[in-house]
Amino acid sequence: MDFTFTKDQQLYHDSVKRFLTAKVTTEYIRQSWASHTGSSAKLWQGLVELGLTAMLVPKAYQGLGMKLLDFILLAQECGRVALPEPLLETTMVATPILGTLAEKDPRCRSLLHKIAAGEARIAVLHTVNNLISDAHNADWLLLPKSDQLHLLARDQVRLTAQASIDPSRRLFTVEWQGSSETCLTSGTEGVALLAFILNCGALATAAQLLGLAEAMLAMTVQYTIDRQQFGRPIGANQALKHHLANCAVATEFAKAPLYRAAYTVSQRPSQADLAISHAKVAAGEAAVLTAKHCIQAHGAMGYTWECDLHIFMKRAWTLDKFWGPAGFHKNRLRLWLMDTKAKIGADQTFSTQS
């Protein structure tokens, strides 16, 4: 067993982190709120040049052929800067799905080529969400209907913008008519792929939530060092230390389930539901707790629009509800635990099956 990432994974992680920190500043995000699309072609091009869109595309289609596990640290970085681009829907959700269907479906093959080259963005709908994010910037949409999965071009659907409580997010409801032409798969395979979509979406979201939590915590620690009351930094007060220490515990400990979940999707798909629900619950709890204590530690300042904290808090609050809120994922955990065949008991505490 080895929970560490490889040297290559870490090096790549560092360069992506440097790029995102330099480009996706909070000033950039505030500008994006005012822009029509909320998106920047130049930034997207930068992400493409870093190889991010090609990473998970199989080598056969000009991709780098890597696994979700290789992407998980990068997804966390997207959260850390509150990236307002639809990168993860395209890379962590649509790409693996299209990869599964590529061999038998030429549409998926050609789309994968385009994704790798940075020429196609995909938005993905799932019934747990009702809303689809960044569909206005997408070239194609993956849309579920009962046991079917459809692929439609953006001009084949009708989008209605739904303003989000997080001004960085562009959400839509979508009206569409599928046909046998647009249907990629159905039946048992369709059902399995829809479940896979949910897992990929929840995994990507869990990773972002942890990145967000770390970003909020870092800026708040700095604030408690800088802000003085009663002739000393407010961070000198135990009450605040304990709040922020609790956030650190929750966030740090949520990483292991997240990394395990990423590993599981690639290596043990049969246990993915359980591992991913676990990761999403832990990451959501860490991010929501961190948002709560960070605004508290900022005092009235944290309640202002001008203070950058709300950029991250609002993203955390909304992502916590996306791709299945805590209740949904806890229910999946419960269903597994209550199953008569569940492997629980003293000898199973550290079972590889759970």
């Binding site: 409580i165 009235a300 809120p325």
Partner: protein, 400 residues
């Protein structure tokens, strides 16, 4: 102990209920459930007229002594008033700071001339007030205010210089009560004065601060040789801290009863939505709703218990210290419950009001505003320090 309302009190209840029913009509009908924390930006002009309407009906400042324009209502009657007021969905009170804080302070610490000058405008609902305590460097550590007040002999006025911040409703207020340093050499609690300052003057500039709600309810207030009449100081120079603390006692007093009724309305709204969108089927949601209800009742019973003790011996007891941290944390949890019950809809901004780009619905605004409940009026951490040190007698934190 007497936990039921008397026949006279029931009659009082139907009097106010009838009045509200008859008067929350016409131009005021649209003010139902309008305003209040998180929604103060809505219809301020009409809500000011509503204050005057209340006054005409004799329903402003009902807890104040008759001689100052009130009705000398008992605690029970005030409870009834608040219950019926919120049951009817009457709008958030713009004159809260005048009626609940400035007025009682002037009554308790002011001289007769000051009472004659400032109280009638509050009673009539024509003069609104704001609270100028916090400064950029003085939040939790309120005693470190730097704003200065200096008496100018030639003008015969106080001149005030400095800056306040987070001043709620300063943009609508006619007066501000300000704590400022009368002795420039003093530090901490000593050498402060308590001033009643007219807002409409060249020496005062108000700049709105945008909140995470996208609206602006609080402000920066800059004082640049702002003038205050010689008679505008309550008590003597140096008494400011004592008076400011006395006022915080009122903050924890009767005015919070009205708040509970607003909480009740919010909880009812959450229950309605949970039934409508089936969120109540989630056992975790059901438990949280039940928990919220139980704790709201705890607050209510304790507020009444606290207030009856106050009526009896004129002082607030230990319970009063506990109250702020309890209701603030409760309300913050209620915000989280609301957002969870609303489900995906809870993420989407209000469509009915597409005029401004960031328009929250009532419960979303409540959710975000409740983040601030544990901050203003003394943060939770400060309240807990007070409970531990003053309530429980635990050793004091080291002071720098």
């Amino acid at each position: 102990m007497k936990l039921d309302f008397s026949t006279e009190e029931q009659a009082f209840r139907s009097e106010i209920a009838t009045w509200l029913k008859q008067n929350l009509t016409g131009e005021f009908a649209q003010l139902k459930f309008c305003g209040g924390p998180g929604n103060e930006h809505r219809s301020p002009q009409q809500r000011k007229r509503w204050e005057q309407k209340l006054a005409e009906g004799g329903w402003s400042c009902i807890g104040w002594p008759q001689q100052y324009g009130g009705r000398s209502c008992s605690i029970e009657q005030q409870v009834i008033f608040h219950e019926e007021y919120h049951r009817a969905g009457a709008p958030g009170r713009l004159s809260l700071l005048g009626e609940g804080l400035a007025g009682p302070t002037i009554i308790a610490f002011g001289n007769e001339a000051q009472k004659q000058k400032y109280l009638p405008g509050i009673v009539a609902g024509t003069e609104l007030w704001c609270q100028g305590y916090s400064e950029p460097g003085a939040g939790s550590d309120l005693a470190s205010v730097k704003t200065k007040a200096c008496f100018n002999e030639t003008q015969g006025k106080w001149l005030i210089n400095g800056q306040k911040v987070w001043t709620s409703l300063a943009h609508q207020a006619d007066y501000c009560f300000v704590i400022a340093r009368t002795n420039p050499a003093s530090t901490a609690h000593k050498g402060l004065g308590f001033f009643l300052v007219k807002m409409d003057q060249p020496g005062i500039e108000v700049r709105g601060i945008k909140q995470i709600t996208g609206t602006s309810e609080f402000n920066e207030v800059f004082f640049n040789n702002a003038e205050c009449d010689a008679e505008g100081i309550i008590g003597a120079p140096g008494d400011g801290w004592k008076i400011a603390m006395g006022l915080l006692g009122f903050e924890r007093g009767v005015s919070t009863l009205g708040l509970q009724m607003q909480f009740r309305n919010e909880l009812n709204e959450i229950i309605r939505i949970a039934k409508q969108n089936n969120a109540y089927r989630d056992p975790a949601i059901r438990q949280r709703i039940a928990q919220s209800h139980a704790e709201l009742k705890i607050m209510r019973y304790n507020a009444l218990r606290m207030l009856s003790a106050q009526a009896e011996n004129g002082t607030l007891q230990k319970e009063a210290l506990i109250y702020k941290v309890f209701w603030a944390s409760w309300h913050q949890n209620l915000g989280e419950l609301a957002i969870d019950v609303m489900g995906p809809e809870g993420q989407i901004l209000d469509k009915s009001n597409s005029g401004s780009e960031y328009t929250l619905n009532h419960l979303q605004a409540m959710y975000l505003f409740a983040r601030a409940d544990t901050i203003y009026g003394g943060t939770n951490e400060i309240q807990r320090n007070i409970i531990a040190e003053r309530g429980l007698g635990m050793p004091k934190e080291p002071r720098a």
